[in-house]
């Protein structure tokens, strides 16, 4: 029941807001904030009621159509638990952060935001592929409006790019979902989109690869993985602050979550085949994102490119295929939501005052707005993975795990950490240190009480995860291990198959093989 509440409560609030008169923006704001805070408070119940290692919990099964096997089926396991919490937290924060920035069409804005929340929670909780797809697409619409209506100057180009990229990916996914259902139907004899049922069967290896590619394409665009990332900087730069927070904090996680939840466990053998490609793209993403971030002139696009780099780490962790790497990867998804969300909030705070995000327009801010500068510093340190902050634990586990499976990739990834410090500190220096060179910046007001209240929870979480990540790690690991076990099972099967293949080869050996087969007599002859 609780999940159903979490999914539909934002819609209820949206409906209430729709009834409030449009000329009372304050009421609308308060209603939206109250609604999202209630949502967050209720969602924290999950944390206490969650049973570690027990699989899907709080499940609801309600079939719409028995013949089609499509239904409202939701549940939460270790993988989705913290992503749901992240969503409810960031949504409440984003709503509050929008109080000052959004002055026009307030009603539409908050309705869009609440619908977006429904879509996000639904996507994370759906255990029915059809429902998943519906929620996946449901997120696109409000985001489209958020950027397209409340965005910056170039918002139309950005929204087109965002929509074209995303639609392309999800189209392939839709086809793949239907096709997979068909395969399951052939094996099991029933039509179903129930993920838990799908997991009981293994998709024939021959079909896996292209199905995996179709899923992976949709997810890789969302992540975004290099070279499918170019929609991200544009979308971020044009989106309103809260849109950026949700985009970076939650929507990007849909991609990595999709890999963890669907693409990898459904098509494990294809994942193993595609792994080298994903690995290389992940590492390129880490380095490339960091390098390009270094030369950005706009703070927001710098943060956007840093996301490309950070999500490269997350993908690298998935490629590690061991508990440590997977745990790091999932933890880093949460961390990235917190840290990058906070960074966008901070950029928004200064943008609201100065209406520019260009690094060159700033300088010497530490003197003018010390509190803001210190918040920015803390969040930046978390973003570059300083030990004691959340970013360190995630990155460390990812690299440690990846080092076991792919040492070269891990070494390159570790180099990415050096670069991360480079682009962040350089930006920080140009914005906050030195003298105030731009006279417009001499009298900026420091953070207001509301702005501090928005950021304090995020800062607390940054340190809490950095110092005591155990409560999260121990809850996510059983679910992750199930995914790993699924992939490893395939590896074992394939290995035995290969062994069988080799042994059959020995029975019918090609001429060249015959000489190599270990026959004691031939070996004795060789030394002469």
């Amino acid at each position: 029941m609780i999940i159903t509440f979490l999914i539909f409560w934002p819609l209820v609030v949206a409906a209430i807001i729709a009834l409030i008169r449009g000329d009372r923006p304050d009421h609308i704001r308060q209603a939206a904030l109250a609604g999202t805070i209630i949502e967050f408070v209720v969602s924290t119940y999950l944390l206490f009621a969650f049973k570690t290692g027990a699989g899907y919990q709080f499940t609801v099964r309600w079939l719409w159509s028995d013949t089609l096997g499509v239904g409202y089926q939701v549940g939460i396991d270790g993988i989705s638990l913290f992503l749901v919490l992240l969503t409810t937290l960031l949504t409440a924060i984003s709503v509050w952060a929008s109080f000052g920035a959004i002055q026009e069409r307030v009603k539409g804005y908050f309705i869009a935001f609440l619908v977006l929340e429904t879509g996000m929670i639904g996507t994370f909780c759906a255990t029915d592929l059809f429902l998943f797809y519906v929620c996946w697409e449901l997120m696109l619409l409000p985001m489209y409006f958020l950027i397209g209506i409340w965005g910056g100057v170039n918002r139309i180009y950005a929204t087109y790019k965002f929509v074209i990229y995303t639609i392309t990916g999800s189209l392939f996914m839709l086809v793949a979902i239907i096709y997979t259902a068909n395969i399951i139907h052939k094996i099991a004899g029933v039509w179903t989109f129930d993920l838990t049922v799908w997991m009981q069967y293994s998709i024939p290896t021959a079909n896996q690869l292209w199905l995996f590619i179709a899923f992976a394409l949709a997810f890789a665009i969302k992540v975004p993985m290099f070279p499918l990332h170019t929609w991200l900087p544009d979308a971020h730069v044009q989106a309103p602050t809260a849109g950026s927070v949700i985009l970076a904090g939650v929507l990007l996680k849909m991609g990595t979550y999709g890999f963890l939840r669907f693409a990898i466990p459904l098509f494990p053998s294809a994942f193993l085949d595609a792994l080298p490609v994903i690995l290389v793209l992940a590492v390129i993403g880490i380095i490339y994102g960091a390098l390009v971030a270094m030369v950005q002139k706009d703070i927001k696009s710098l943060v956007a490119y840093s996301s490309v780099s950070h999500l490269g780490f997350v993908m690298l962790g998935l490629c590690a295929l061991n508990t440590v790497g997977f745990a790091g990867s999932l933890l880093q998804q949460i961390n990235h939501g917190i840290s990058t969300g906070a960074l966008f909030l901070l950029v928004g705070i200064i943008y609201e005052r100065q209406h520019t995000r260009l690094i060159a327009d700033y300088g010497g801010l530490f003197k003018v707005v010390p509190v803001f500068s210190i918040y920015f510093m803390i969040v930046m340190l978390s973003s570059i993975g300083l030990p004691g902050t959340n970013g360190f634990v995630g990155e460390f586990l990812i690299l440690l795990g990846a080092f076991r499976s792919h040492p070269v990739a891990a070494v390159l990834g570790t180099a990415g950490i050096v670069l991360a410090a480079g682009y962040m500190l350089w930006m920080y220096q140009r914005v906050f240190f030195g003298q105030v060179t731009n006279p417009k910046n001499e009298n900026i007001t420091d953070m207001t009480l509301r702005e501090r209240a928005i950021l304090v929870p995020l800062v607390i979480i940054i340190f809490a995860i950095g110092i005591y990540p155990k409560p999260i790690l121990e809850r996510i690991e059983p679910a992750l291990n199930r995914v790993i076990d699924r992939v490893n099972a395939v590896q074992v099967v394939e290995k035995t198959k290969q062994d069988e293949l080799l042994s059959t080869r020995n029975t019918y050996p090609p001429p060249a093989m015959e000489t190599k087969s270990a026959d004691p007599e031939t070996e004795e002859e060789q030394p002469r």
């Binding site: 929609w231 061991n322 440690l400």
Partner: protein, 638 residues
């Protein structure tokens, strides 16, 4: 008592929180008092803990930290003779420098921020030396790096300071890259990153030979070259002098920069399995010692002379580690903390008195104006130059002797060490003479303002001066009738390493006397050279320039190493990144995407013919599309 050792780092953390969160509500005086008290508590707790320590090492785990899969690490602390020496040195020297800072920073606007950073530094440094595992050590390691960054850039309104802070952090991150990889390797080969586990398993895992030991040790050492400013990553330390002088004394002389030496000594049980790595450590150490000493001879900034001197002295410590004389390295680490902190604080006292003047060419004759500073500074100069009996003499002599007598050492190492000793005496007396002797090279209005520093500063100077004299006596060598009790105290820490080292032949005391005599003689030559050039002939800072103009330019420009790095690494990186952004992201990928977009639009224009505006037509198209999808599904569902 011992189960409270985790409080040792916690006190300064509390100080940081008080000053960091509530600093603006404290008076300037209050900020300083809180910070000093917290560090003093740490010192007292350290002292008590060390006195209570009966067994060889005490180990306590306070809280789980990162636990995932088979990886598990906690906030655990270890107290053994090695960490005892380190906590006492760190908290003791830090306390004196905190007290000094209350005087030095009294007129700064942002005292509370300063003390907050300084306390935070002490917190991380104590974590670093007390950590019982590699990951927690790494946390302290990066944490002190952060504080170094913050404190170098404390006066961030100066671009030079902000640049120096960033440079320090980035160069250190390059080193940390190696350190992190070393930790990964250790975990996957040892199954743990806890010191006791790793060192106990070292003979089994590394004893078989192969390149693993060398790889691990060299990666760890890369980290050490960053933090401890050795070739090739030393370049950040001279620039770090942009920070307030007490910061230079604490972080960039006495404590943080020695973390690399501590780490190598801590990992002695690993390094002994790789003679190659030890050789690299020794060569880098010796080369850095000599190389940095040459650069110290031509600097005109009083703090930069000391910075290069620090790099050079750290080179000595690594030389000692490289010849497996770990306790000699730690001994020199400790005495160096005393006299180098004293030198920096003395320099700070001069700078303070002369109102932020750091140029030696504008000093001279300060002996008369600053008697207390002069006296203590002279003691430190004698100590670092190896004047017989003082702290620097005893510890440096042990290093020189080990570099010759150790089975891993050799005559070349000794010669480089002794040459460095000569240069050290030269540049230190050059500094002393240019600052305190001769005629004053400033005008009368400046002279009228010069005043001796307050008690808080001279008091700290006096205590450090005493330590610079007597600090070496606890390790008085056997050859001179001492018991080398310092070495014996550290013995159990390095006992395991010693088992796997080749045993050297016994050298007669006569050889030791001879070498000792020679090194003292070379020091005296350095002294006389400085005396001739800067006292008896008309003193001028550029005396070397007159004699060797070409060489002088080369050395003064630090052998153009910074320019080299700039041209070979920094500029290509930024230029290449711009190229990637504009040519690849914007031109190639977006070009393709936009091209695709245009194509779609072109098709759309064709399709626009169907845009009749009639609702019925749209409905028809919609139904057609839906029918197609449904039809496909039904086809599949057959």
């Amino acid at each position: 008592m011992l189960n409270t050792i985790w409080l040792i780092p916690v006190f300064p953390l509390i100080g940081f929180l008080i000053n960091g969160l509530g600093g603006r509500r404290l008076s300037r005086y209050g900020s300083g008092v809180v910070a000093c008290m917290m560090v003093f508590f740490s010192f007292i707790f350290s002292l008590l803990a060390v006195l209570f320590l009966k067994e060889n090492s005490y180990h306590i785990e306070v809280l789980d930290w990162v636990v995932s899969g088979t990886f598990s690490v906690s906030f655990g602390f270890i107290l053994d003779p090695l960490s005892s020496v380190m906590v006492l040195t760190v908290s003791g020297v830090a306390f004196l420098i905190h007290v000094y800072s209350t005087g030095y920073m009294a007129h700064d606007e942002h005292v509370s921020r300063y003390f907050a950073y300084l306390n935070l530094f002490v917190f991380f440094m104590l974590i670093l030396v007390l950590a019982d595992n590699f990951l927690l050590l790494y946390m302290g390691w990066e944490g002190v790096g952060l504080c170094s960054y913050l404190l170098i850039g404390f006066w961030f309104h100066k671009d030079s300071a902000a640049n120096a802070g960033k440079k320090a952090f980035l160069v250190n991150r390059v080193g940390d890259f190696g350190f992190a990889l070393g930790i990964f390797l250790i975990f996957w080969h040892f199954g743990s990153v806890q010191f006791p586990d790793v060192f106990a398993a070292a003979p089994e895992v590394l004893g078989a030979g192969g390149g693993l030991a060398t790889l691990i040790c060299l990666l760890l050492f890369l980290g050490a070259t960053g933090k401890s400013a050795q070739i090739p990553l030393y370049i950040w330390l001279p620039d770090a002098m942009e920070g307030p002088t007490p910061v230079s004394a604490l972080i960039h002389a006495a404590t943080m920069v020695t973390a690399g030496v501590y780490m190598v000594a801590r990992c002695s049980a690993l390094f002994v399995f790789s003679p190659t790595a030890l050789l690299v450590v020794a060569i880098i150490g010796a080369a850095t010692a000599l190389f940095a000493a040459t650069m110290a001879t031509v600097q005109n900034d009083i703090k930069r002379v000391l910075a290069y001197s620090t790099i050079s002295q750290l080179g000595y410590m690594f030389l000692a580690c490289g010849v497996a004389a770990f306790s000699a390295a730690i001994f020199h680490l400790m005495t160096h903390a005393f006299f180098k902190a004293l030198l920096f604080l003395g320099a700070g006292s001069v700078i303070h008195a002369m109102h932020e003047e750091q140029d030696l060419r504008k000093m001279g004759g300060l002996r008369k104006y600053l008697p207390a500073t002069f006296l203590t500074f002279a003691i430190a100069t004698l100590a670092i130059s190896g004047f017989p009996g003082l702290a620097g003499f005893v510890s440096k002599d042990e290093i020189l002797w080990s570099s010759f007598s150790s089975p891993l050492g050799g005559l070349v190492f000794w010669i480089v060490g002794v040459l460095t000793a000569g240069l050290t005496a030269f540049y230190m007396f050059r500094l002393l003479f240019l600052a305190f002797y001769g005629k004053s090279r400033f005008d009368d209005t400046t002279a009228a303002k010069i005043h001796e520093s307050p008690m808080s500063m001279t008091g700290s100077l006096s205590i450090l001066a005493i330590l610079s004299i007597v600090g070496g006596w606890i390790g008085w060598p056997e050859a001179l009738g001492g018991g080398n009790s310092f070495g014996n105290y550290l013995e159990p820490v390095f006992a395991q390493a010693k088992e796997y080292l080749p045993q050297g032949g016994h050298h007669a005391y006569s050889t030791e006397y001879l070498l000792m005599g020679l090194s003292v003689a070379i020091g005296v030559i350095g002294f006389f050279w400085a005396y001739r050039w800067y006292i008896s002939e008309s003193p001028a800072a550029e005396r070397i320039k007159e004699r060797f103009p070409g060489l002088y330019t080369l050395v003064l420009n630090k052998y153009y190493i910074d320019e080299f790095y700039q041209a070979v690494i920094v500029r290509p990186l930024i230029g290449g990144s711009r190229l990637l952004w504009h040519k690849f992201d914007e031109l190639a990928i977006d070009g393709a995407v936009n091209g695709l977009g245009r194509l779609v639009r072109a098709i759309g224009r064709g399709g626009a013919l169907a845009q009749t505006g009639y609702f019925r037509a749209y409905a028809a198209f919609f139904s057609l599309g839906a029918a197609l999808v449904l039809g496909w599904m039904i086809y599949l569902m057959r």
